[in-house]
């Protein structure tokens, strides 16, 4: 069957032998890079936690006084006798370094302190309300991806008019403040058209508008990056080669170019997840949807620092986990990274 008698000469066979040991080295470096990634992930969480610790302990004013005033809703000087049990309970008189290690120890066991306002462990306060916020965050992310993939595959490098209109809309969407978009959606779809409940529950009906509120601006952001990549992908030689073997336009878009173009969008999503999670506050507040948003706004207004700090640490954890997932997704889509 061998039509063509030319063979790779000795010059060409040497990478072949070299490739086996190289493979083992790849696995080794792969493990090592996984190790460094996990380490740096823990580092980020540690740094974020330390930051919140310092903010809480180095705050101007006496911490016990602050706490006591919070408890009673008063603002006044406190006597030593009043402060003593508080200091005793929270160990505020211990040296800072002792408090710091206690804080880290608590953190490792999932103890984020006690809310000044609600007298409940912060972890419980968060745990009670986290589920709807997580649902909202991920729905928004999915909506954003769905919108921008459909729009880009449909319009990029096709008709010049449609593709410029679409990219103009992307720029518009990316610049829209979530609160404004949310208000408009609420006024149009809930108040005027009555298609959705004004006060959103946790059901599907109450989810769509808040998710669009967060998803549309994100779709604009993602779309801008992905479009640029998609357009340059369509001009790459491999896209031309695919056409040359008889593939149609849609095939080239879906089977070759799309995979290349989503990569920067994936990176952006990792970063966006933390941001989405905190922006959920806005959507929840517009649509009076249960979730962490209400907890956070109340905590900020009542200066309930442990709760705010607890949420900051939680978002840092989400950010870090999201970025580890991004790394995994990235290597699945672009296997070249594993080996280089």
């Amino acid at each position: 069957m061998s039509i063509l008698e030319t063979r790779e000469t000795t010059l060409e066979t040497d990478p072949d032998q070299a490739s086996r040991p190289r493979r083992d080295r790849h696995i080794f470096t792969g493990l090592r890079s996984l190790g460094t990634r996990l380490l740096s992930a823990v580092g980020v969480i540690w740094a974020a936690a330390t930051f919140t610790f310092l903010i809480q302990s180095l705050l101007p004013g006496d911490r016990a006084t602050l706490l006591l005033n919070q408890l009673n809703g008063q603002i006044q000087e406190r006597t030593a006798a009043e402060l003593a049990p508080i200091n005793e309970k929270y160990g505020f008189t211990d040296p800072l370094i002792v408090q710091y290690f206690r804080f880290l120890g608590d953190l490792a066991t999932g103890n984020l302190g006690t809310s000044y306002q609600l007298h409940k462990p912060v972890i419980e306060v968060i745990g009670d309300q986290i589920a709807p916020t997580i649902v909202l965050t991920f729905t928004s992310l999915l909506i954003a991806w769905a919108i921008c993939i459909v729009v880009i595959v449909g319009t990029a490098k096709r008709n010049r008019f449609f593709s410029s209109v679409a990219s103009g809309l992307e720029a518009l969407a990316a610049g829209l403040p979530q609160y404004w978009l949310g208000v408009i959606l609420l006024v149009v779809f809930a108040l005027n058209l009555g298609l959705f409940p004004v006060v959103g529950g946790t059901g599907i009906g109450g989810l769509l508008l808040p998710a669009l509120t967060l998803g549309i601006p994100l779709a604009g952001f993602l779309g801008q990056v992905i479009r640029t990549e998609f357009e340059s992908g369509m001009d790459q030689p491999f896209a031309l080669t695919a056409r040359m073997r008889g593939m149609g336009d849609t095939g080239v878009r879906l089977r070759h170019v799309l995979r290349h173009s989503v990569l920067p969008g994936i990176t952006l999503s990792g970063w966006a997840l933390g941001s989405l999670f905190s922006a959920a506050v806005i959507a929840e507040s517009i649509f009076t949807r249960p979730g962490l948003g209400k907890v956070l706004v109340t905590a900020v207004n009542s200066r309930d620092l442990p709760v705010v700090c607890g949420i900051v640490i939680l978002v840092a954890v989400i950010y870090v986990v999201a970025n580890l997932l991004v790394d995994v997704a990235y290597t699945l889509i672009d296997p070249r990274l594993k080996t280089s």
Binding site: M1, S2, I3, L4, E5, T6, R7, E8, T9, L11, E12, T13, P15, D16, S19, R25, T29, R160, Q236, P237, F238, L240, T241, A242, R243, M244, R245, G246, M247, G248, G251, R255, H256, R259, H260, I333, D334, P335, R336, T339, S340
Partner: protein
């Protein structure tokens, strides 16, 4: 005049005389801009071609000659906004002028295979090469998944890829240049198309690998496949093609059998193109007509320089250099390289990609030392070396990135002058004008930004900048590699003249053996970071001692024309 008969191609090429391609008076133009600003660019003008089975037609030309657009038009993919006109355009026995996109898709890959330049980017970099070959089969409804998988491995085997099963699971970046180019060819010929179009199929490859790929294409031709070869390289063309069409500015200037066209060129442009190719026998003679008329005898100054310096200007002793790879492993890329460069002499350093030739030319080793005029150079600290730096200047392969984008040509040259020697604006502008004159740049070029200059003009500007400090040594790192052959010829002539005039010493780095032979007094051959052989150009090219040098020279395609030729072949 022509009657078009639809003859579907079903059986593989049987008769040798079967016509695969008939193009008559093809015009391709592009509409640029919209509305009032719209402009029509005529890219291909009145081109007629013909090809029958088992033959190879080469289309040669420099960049912008329209050769690639012609090739792409033959598969119905000339690009956006293209306007195609022809009295006849018959490809694989179909009237290409009336084919719908749907029908074209049945033709592409099945009746016509297309091979692009660099398999690293021409195959999907994220997918295993086997998948790409299977895709070509799947698109035309060939077999089922399992049989396609088997066929892909068979195809890889047939184009000479060892261990095809393992290779089929690897991505282009995991394969060597030669293997991935073979995989690309396998994907193009998966359905055994009668016609294969190869657009610069060997351009990105090292000479030894290039020779293997050309053999592969020749074997396909021998089996009855018709090949259209698009190339800028006349020696590649002479090795594979039966007929050749020379294109310039969108039109064919000369066309006919290779022997006649290259052996006895009728058109002035073909002759100029042939003369421009540097090689053994062009040594010591200019490559361009302008060069011949403006030949400069060795000047007094140059003679003085040579006489005054008995010893070497530049001396390298046991250079070594290592780099940390991305995986943290330290790799030695240059091992123990030594050479001397005498005043007014050119030392050529030749080697394939990754041989360490450019690293050597940086003259910044970890071990060993470089002496300039017998004084230490590489061992000096950055600040100690600074006052002497102007005695060795560099011209890079990509001049554009070596210019600050904010500056125009004049500002770039002024910056290169020593402001102690040229303290007034007047002396500076005189010197800039002198430099521009030396390299053949016009006054109006000086006001332009590098982006607005052509490739040749940019390289002239880079040479002027290198001349500005009046150096003794100029390092030319692949300085002509990115240029078209006729522009390359002009720049090489310029360099030769400047050397004769100013007594410069050149350290000339190139992968192109012809250029090296043409330019060098002495040659250093590098492989895998080591100097394998060193000697005068004649010694190296006529009596190579090292097996690697012999192999390099053997794989070099030459202009193999015997009839009526003024050129002799150096075997």
């Amino acid at each position: 005049m022509t009657v078009l008969v639809e003859k579907p191609v079903s059986a593989p090429a049987a008769s040798a005389n079967r016509t695969l391609l008939a193009v008559h008076a093809l015009n391709v133009s592009f509409a640029v801009g919209t509305g009032r600003h719209q402009k029509i660019n005529h890219v291909v003008k009145n081109v007629s071609l013909e090809l029958s089975a088992g033959r190879c037609l080469a289309i040669v030309g420099e960049s912008g000659s329209g050769k690639s657009v012609t090739a792409r038009t033959l598969v119905g993919l000339p690009g956006r906004n293209a306007i195609i006109e022809a009295t006849r355009l018959e490809v694989a026995n179909r009237n290409a002028l009336t084919l719908s996109e749907r029908l074209w898709r049945q033709v592409r890959g099945k009746d016509i295979g297309f091979i692009l330049q660099d398999a690293l980017v021409s195959l999907d970099p994220l997918r295993p090469v086997g998948k790409e070959i299977e895709e070509a089969l799947r698109l035309h409804g060939w077999g089922n998944a399992a049989s396609r998988r088997r066929k892909a491995i068979e195809l890889l085997d047939s184009v000479g890829v060892p261990q095809p099963e393992m290779r089929s699971r690897q991505r282009p970046d995991e394969l060597s240049g030669g293997l991935r180019q073979r995989a690309l060819i396998a994907s193009a010929i998966a359905l055994d198309p009668a016609l294969v179009i190869a657009d610069e199929p060997t351009t990105a490859l090292d000479v030894t690998v290039q020779a293997q790929v050309l053999d592969l294409l020749a074997a396909m031709k021998a089996r009855g496949t018709g090949i259209i070869l698009i190339s800028h390289d006349l020696s590649v063309v002479s090795r594979l093609a039966d007929d050749v069409a020379v294109m310039r500015g969108g039109a064919i200037v000369e066309q006919g059998p290779v022997r006649e066209v290259l052996g006895n060129p009728q058109h002035e442009y073909t002759r100029a193109l042939l003369d421009a190719v540097p090689s053994a026998h062009t040594k010591g003679t200019p490559l361009t007509k302008e060069g011949r008329s403006g030949i400069i005898a060795t000047s007094d100054r140059a003679r003085r320089v040579r006489a005054a310096n008995a010893g070497p200007v530049l001396e390298a002793r046991g250079l070594g250099k290592s780099y940390d790879g991305p995986d943290g492993v330290r790799r030695k890329v240059v091992h123990d390289v030594s050479f001397n460069l005498a005043a007014g002499e050119t030392l050529g350093i030749v080697g394939e990609s990754g041989s360490g030739k450019s690293t050597t030319a940086k003259l910044a080793p970890d071990t060993g030392e470089v002496l300039l005029d017998g004084q230490p150079w590489s061992s000096l600290s950055t600040s100690q070396r600074r006052p002497r730096r102007r005695r060795v200047t560099v011209v890079y392969q990509d001049p554009l990135s070596s210019f600050d984008p904010r500056w125009n040509a004049e500002r770039i040259l002024v910056d290169a002058l020593d402001h102690r020697d040229f303290s007034t604006a007047q002396t500076r502008s005189n010197r800039v004008a002198e430099l521009a004159g030396q390299v053949g740049l016009q006054v109006e070029h000086l006001e332009k930004h590098p982006l607005q200059l052509s490739g040749g003009q940019r390289q002239r500007l880079a040479i002027a900048r290198a001349l500005a400090p009046e150096p003794e040594v100029i390092v030319l790192d692949e300085a002509v590699s990115a240029l078209d052959v006729s522009v390359q010829a002009q720049v090489l002539d310029l360099l030769t003249n400047l050397q004769a005039q100013l007594g410069l010493s050149y350290l000339f780095i190139s992968h192109d053996l012809g250029v090296i032979h043409h330019m060098s007094d002495r040659v250093l051959v590098m492989k895998d970071g080591k100097a394998v052989e060193q000697g005068t150009a004649d010694q190296i090219f006529n009596e190579p001692a090292h097996p690697y040098t012999q192999e390099l020279l053997a794989s070099l395609p030459r202009l193999e024309i015997t009839e009526n030729t003024t050129r002799s072949i150096n075997a």
